[in-house]
Point group: C2
Chain length 374, copies 2
């Protein structure tokens, strides 16, 4: 067990909400918060070269321990110099622990107090993931932030199952804390508790006594409504120490980010900008555009005239053509556009908090985000 | 019928071979020759943003009239400002005429003296491509170099069929010449004649009397041996005027380019660097590498330590992982690497010709290109 270095600097808090402006310091650089991490599941953010990724304004990435452990193997990544060198990204990286795959690969895994046993989705082989193993894998990958192994359940879920998963999550967090040994790696705990405010609060208090470098709100974006998710953020954040970063895992849509920042969240990750981009959906300040729609076929306008991304040097008609013709460049360009949109949103969120105007800013943004047709 | 402006500048010829160093001047910039054009079939070089494409050293692209006419339609491209603006490429573009699709889509088309009738591979609709229509489409696309419609036959082919296709090609070239009206578009004729030296020479002489801005050697790389192809280049080039560029269509491997330059070719296009890149094959100075091969799985070396492309900032192990994991970034990076390799080869070819050392240079290059295992 190592003492966490002071890694988070709280620069200020919005006067009318719980929105926070901060900086997360890591061995691979500083991350201004609130921040959004694109997801690089298998050692690459799908469709982006490292240079293009950096041009979107991205400062920090997420990598998936479960996927990298199966292929190419954490030992291979370690042998090749760690995840940063392997994928060529010299900025901060956070790795998840594999806990989310308990939920997403439910039929392929079995959970006991000791560990999660996965049957590999790649080749059917077995992978036993204990808290100790989750830390060892992340230490081999060499991420800047490691996550404890947690037990995520699908919602809705019977209360006693939520409680059991929550207890297991706390016990596993303690075991992770006990074996973590890299001084250059921050360890974040994960608050579970389903949609039960009491369980959320209890889980948060228990984890805080263990003293982690940061705290995540986990087990959300798994079937509940947006309002239920916002409510869980709202009941959890007050129990977390102000001087540690707060990370809402797997969230979300632009409106979710705006709502969660208002309730005190500092860090986000989500596949939406990249996955939706590959599926021809472009995020814009006035809602999403579906580029496969025939109404774009002769439209000479860019997605957003104020956007500086490579997609916005082309017409909507060209982007429409690329998707109709099945060209890789369509998914590539919309991925870049959506990440640029998300990072610009985060930058404007930070500016609004600095100006003490976050509530009014988020109200305006949310009003604009009503979906367009098409 | 418009007079062709002087568009090709012959800077010098190798003292010991027919290799030529020149410049092709177009409305969108000058192209040092010998030059290689990547293929952008559907208005994009697959997997490359425009910036990344330019970084490979590419100066001129090829677009496919047949494909663009079917989708999105030449009228749509024209309405959106022409092919340059549509795809965001402000350098020179050459468009083919659709003649090659007579060969490649043989079962979907019927050829008469009047026109080729295609059944669209996209939606089954009919497209009648006459010489006049081929020019109209290319004028709508607004390419810098247009190609006449020619009749390509699969080889081997009975002599009388080759002769008939050759006669038709000459007649169609004259009809194209008669209707071409854009003063900012160069028109190149295409020498056919299968593997018959006499037919090749006759076709070349007939086309030269019609006075085109450039001449292509067509109907090769369609089933014949490399030696037969080199022989056809050798018997055709002497009949072409020294002050016009010579374009070997659809060729080829690095060794083919080295051999054809020695025989007097100035321009090339081929899908090999891009298509093979997507299929995990990397070109290197010492022959191709197959990145799916397990022997690369822990190899920390780049493909080529002297290469400056985005792929060569990664290890072979990482590239191997990307292909094994089915990640888009694998095809993207190997496409960029292969195009960078081809453009660096062309640059070194030009330097060797300038130095009057082309024969020795090409001999050394060919000796190195023996395939590696793997």
């Amino acid at each position: 067990m190592v003492a966490s270095p002071p890694s988070f600097e709280l620069l200020g808090t919005d006067p009318e909400s719980s929105a926070r402006r901060g900086v997360l310091h890591t061995g691979h650089g500083a991350v201004p918060t609130p921040a959004f991490m694109p997801v690089g599941t298998q050692g690459t953010v799908k469709g982006c070269t490292i240079d293009l990724l950096r041009q979107t304004g991205t400062t920090m990435l997420l990598g998936n321990t479960y996927h990298l452990a199966l292929r190419p193997g954490a030992d291979v990544v370690a042998e090749l110099g760690g995840l940063h060198r392997f994928m060529g990204w010299d900025g901060p990286i956070l790795t998840d622990s594999g806990g989310f795959q308990i939920f997403s690969l439910e039929r392929l895994c079995r959970v006991t107090d000791q560990a999660v046993e996965f049957r590999s989705h790649v080749d059917g082989s077995r992978l036993a993931l204990s808290p100790e193993r989750a830390i060892a894998l992340q230490e081999a990958l060499g991420s800047d932030v490691a996550m404890v192994l947690d037990h995520v359940v699908a919602l809705p879920c019977p209360g006693d199952e939520v409680r059991a998963a929550c207890e297991r999550t706390i016990a596993w967090a303690a075991r992770c804390r006990g074996v973590a040994s890299r001084r250059d790696q921050l360890l974040f705990a994960i608050v579970q508790g389903g949609l039960e405010p009491d369980l959320r609060a209890w889980c948060a208090r228990e984890l805080v006594t263990l003293d982690f470098a940061g705290y995540a709100v986990g087990g959300l974006s798994v079937g509940e409504t947006a309002e239920e998710m916002y409510r869980m953020v709202e009941v959890t954040c007050p129990w977390l120490p102000a001087d540690r970063p707060r990370y809402l895992m797997g969230v979300g849509r632009p409106e979710d980010i705006l709502e969660a920042v208002r309730r005190g969240i500092d860090l986000f990750d989500c596949v939406l900008p990249t996955r939706n981009g590959r599926n021809a959906l472009a995020f814009t300040a006035t809602g999403p555009l579906r580029l496969r729609n025939a109404r774009h076929s002769r439209d000479p306008r860019p997605l957003d005239p104020r956007c500086s991304c490579p997609a916005c040097r082309h017409s909507r008609a060209y982007l429409h053509h690329l998707f109709r013709a099945g060209e890789m460049l369509g998914p590539m360009l919309l991925t870049l556009h959506n990440l640029t949109y998300y990072q610009a949103l985060m930058a404007s969120i930070r500016t609004a908090i600095e100006a003490g105007e976050y509530v009014e800013f988020s109200r305006q943004q949310l009003a604009q985000l009503r979906p367009q047709e098409g």
